[in-house]
């Protein structure tokens, strides 16, 4: 994983700052940076979003395709996540360098979305045992500025909110086969229910306090962190510890509590923005990612 290199005294400066609840950019421990988010920017996807969190930038595209349901869940579709680290973001991502980071993000997203309460997977079923929708979520990391996991999950939720699945109609064909007809109108879509989709909140332990939304310098000073999926109602749908350091049990409960709080705030702000954007007229020019 790409990491900033820092000298000892710089690390001391950051650690003491966290102790005093006054970080290098002036934020307190539980302050998030400002987020810029835009959806529907890629015309050749079913749904897309771009997020900018500090200097981290990610692009998410969602494609749906028809697949065969898994044998153990015959009338459900599923989500598949792919994370790609662009070598433009950091030279170490060249070749297979970004694999560790992308696997981490990917497994965490898969973990929190593999849950029937989070997303109605049965709505993705088309014909039991034969056809279902497979939702491919592709995350592309364009710039690294810390806290990529949280940023990815926010962008994924926004992109899924933006995703329209074509309204297909079923007609009986020959020999008991069912024919699937795609609508002619590309606008004829149904949107996914994303109301219960979680966001991931990373809490990084620095010194004996924890912070949210660490920059890459701060990530460098952090020995262990906790990543948790939080739904809109504040339910936790998966917790994972990252990093080599240890956390003592007392601080874990504290971290989970503040993670829930931050997660709920994230959902409130995100839902508000997505509503505003959905209400905007089409002719407002989008900024895009170029």
């Amino acid at each position: 994983m790409a990491k900033a290199i820092l000298g000892d005294s710089e690390k001391w400066f950051i650690v003491h700052g966290v102790q005093d609840d006054f970080r290098t950019d002036g934020r307190s421990c539980e302050n998030y940076r400002h987020i810029e988010l835009e959806t529907g920017i890629l015309s050749n996807t079913h749904g897309s979003a771009r997020i900018r969190l500090g200097s981290s930038e990610l692009l998410v595209g969602v494609k749906v395709e028809l697949g065969t349901p898994k044998p153990q869940r015959i009338n459900e579709g599923w989500l598949e996540f792919h994370v790609d680290c662009s070598p433009n973001a950091h030279p170490v991502f060249q070749g297979r360098g970004g694999k560790e980071l992308s696997d981490n993000i990917c497994s965490m997203l898969t973990r929190v979305y593999r849950n029937n309460t989070v997303m109605d997977l049965e709505a993705l079923g088309v014909i039991p045992q034969k056809h279902c929708w497979v939702v491919h979520v592709d995350v592309l990391i364009l710039e690294c500025g810390g806290n990529l996991i949280d940023a990815a999950s926010i962008a994924v939720k926004a992109a899924l909110y933006n995703t329209g699945i074509p309204n297909i109609s079923l007609t009986d064909g020959d020999e008991g086969e069912v024919e699937i007809n795609l609508p002619d109108d590309p606008e004829d879509v149904k949107h996914l229910k994303t109301i219960n989709c979680p966001v991931l909140v990373t809490l990084s332990k620095i010194g004996n306090r924890h912070i949210v939304d660490a920059t890459d310098e701060e990530e460098c000073c952090c020995s262990a962190s906790l990543v948790m999926g939080v739904t809109r109602r504040g339910h936790t749908v998966g917790v994972r510890k990252m990093g080599g350091g240890s956390l003592d049990p007392e601080s874990v409960t504290e971290m989970i509590d503040s993670g829930k709080k931050i997660g709920r705030q994230l959902h409130i702000s995100l839902d508000k923005l997505l509503k505003i954007e959905a209400g905007m007229s089409e002719d407002i020019k989008q900024t895009g990612y170029l």
Binding site: S9, H16, E30, I268
Partner: protein, 303 residues
């Protein structure tokens, strides 16, 4: 609610008309013809075709055309650092090698700092022994930040640095900001003690070091800055450091030239806000506008 998280649509990128262009300079893009006159000499950032009939001079970078008598150069707007002898740079130690350190200074090649061109702790002036060579990592190790002066520029553009003055050496507690080297205004002095109790090193290579002046005062006790100070920085010093850091970032995002006056004006303009508010785009723009109007008033007052 001050603690709520701000998520919003991307702001339209502001076109800034503040690129410092004097009347006799103009912007040029790579590949465009600078002059068709064969009399001019080819300087940095330009090229000619091998073709005998073609005497045109082309730009190889995007930037401002500069002409000194018959020599035509293009100074790039966004570039890696091109070192010049005597420049002050801030760099990060990347590697410890035989009798020298490799230093990352935002230039195209890594710079070198020879063991013989540093002041050893205690300020002793003596030949460097084999023992010194073995303890090099105790003085400077990977990741450490140093301030240094460019001693020599090699033919391939690689820099040799030296820290043979008490002004230079290992940097203590504080923070480093990276901006484009073309935003640093060349001045006689690049180390400034601001009135707010903060020392900034506006290094020519675009790395800006910010620390508190009080810490700097204790540095001259003779250890050469090689001892890591682990004492926490006082809260008000820390606030000033972070405020200066955010101000510099505001200015650099709007491509305002950085020098002591512009940083100080931005700092004064920012005092009415909290440090974390400076991360917001609207407030950053306001601070930049205030700084620019103050700078303009000053320059018109002088002229």
């Amino acid at each position: 609610m001050s603690n709520s998280i701000v998520i919003r649509l991307p702001s339209k990128k502001r076109l800034n008309a503040q690129v410092p262009l004097s009347s006799n300079s103009f912007l040029i893009t790579p590949g465009s013809v600078i002059t068709e006159d064969a009399d001019y000499m080819r300087g940095h950032g330009t090229y000619t075709n091998d073709d005998e009939e073609d005497h045109k001079l082309y730009a190889s970078v995007a930037g401002v055309v500069e002409r000194i008598n018959k020599l035509v150069c293009v100074r790039a707007l966004k570039t890696r650092y091109n070192g010049e002898v005597g420049d002050i740079v801030v760099g990060r130690i990347k590697e410890v090698q035989q009798k020298r350190w490799k230093v990352e200074t935002n230039s195209r090649l890594d710079s070198v700092l020879h063991l013989s061109s540093v002041n050893l702790p205690g300020g002793e002036l003596r030949r460097r022994s084999a023992a010194d060579e073995l303890t090099m990592r105790e003085y400077l190790k990977e990741g450490d930040l140093i301030s240094a002066e460019v001693q020599q520029v090699h033919t391939d553009g690689m820099l040799s640095l030296h820290t043979r003055s008490l002004k230079y050496g290992k940097l203590g507690q504080g923070c480093c900001v990276t901006v484009s080297p073309s935003l640093i205004k060349r001045r006689k002095n690049h180390v400034h003690n601001l009135s707010c109790g903060v020392t900034i090193i506006l290094a020519n290579n675009g790395y800006i070091w910010i620390n508190s002046t009080a810490v700097d005062g204790t540095k001259t006790t003779g250890d050469g800055g090689f001892v890591v100070d682990t004492e926490p920085v006082q809260m008000d010093d820390r606030e000033a450091i972070c405020r200066v850091r955010n101000c510099i970032l505001c200015l650099s995002r709007s491509s305002v030239m950085l020098y002591d006056t512009s940083v100080l004006y931005a700092y004064e303009a920012s005092l009415q806000y909290q440090v974390k508010e400076l991360l917001l785009d609207e407030i950053a723009t306001e601070i930049v506008d205030q700084t620019l109007s103050l700078l303009e008033r000053e320059s018109s007052g002088n002229g």
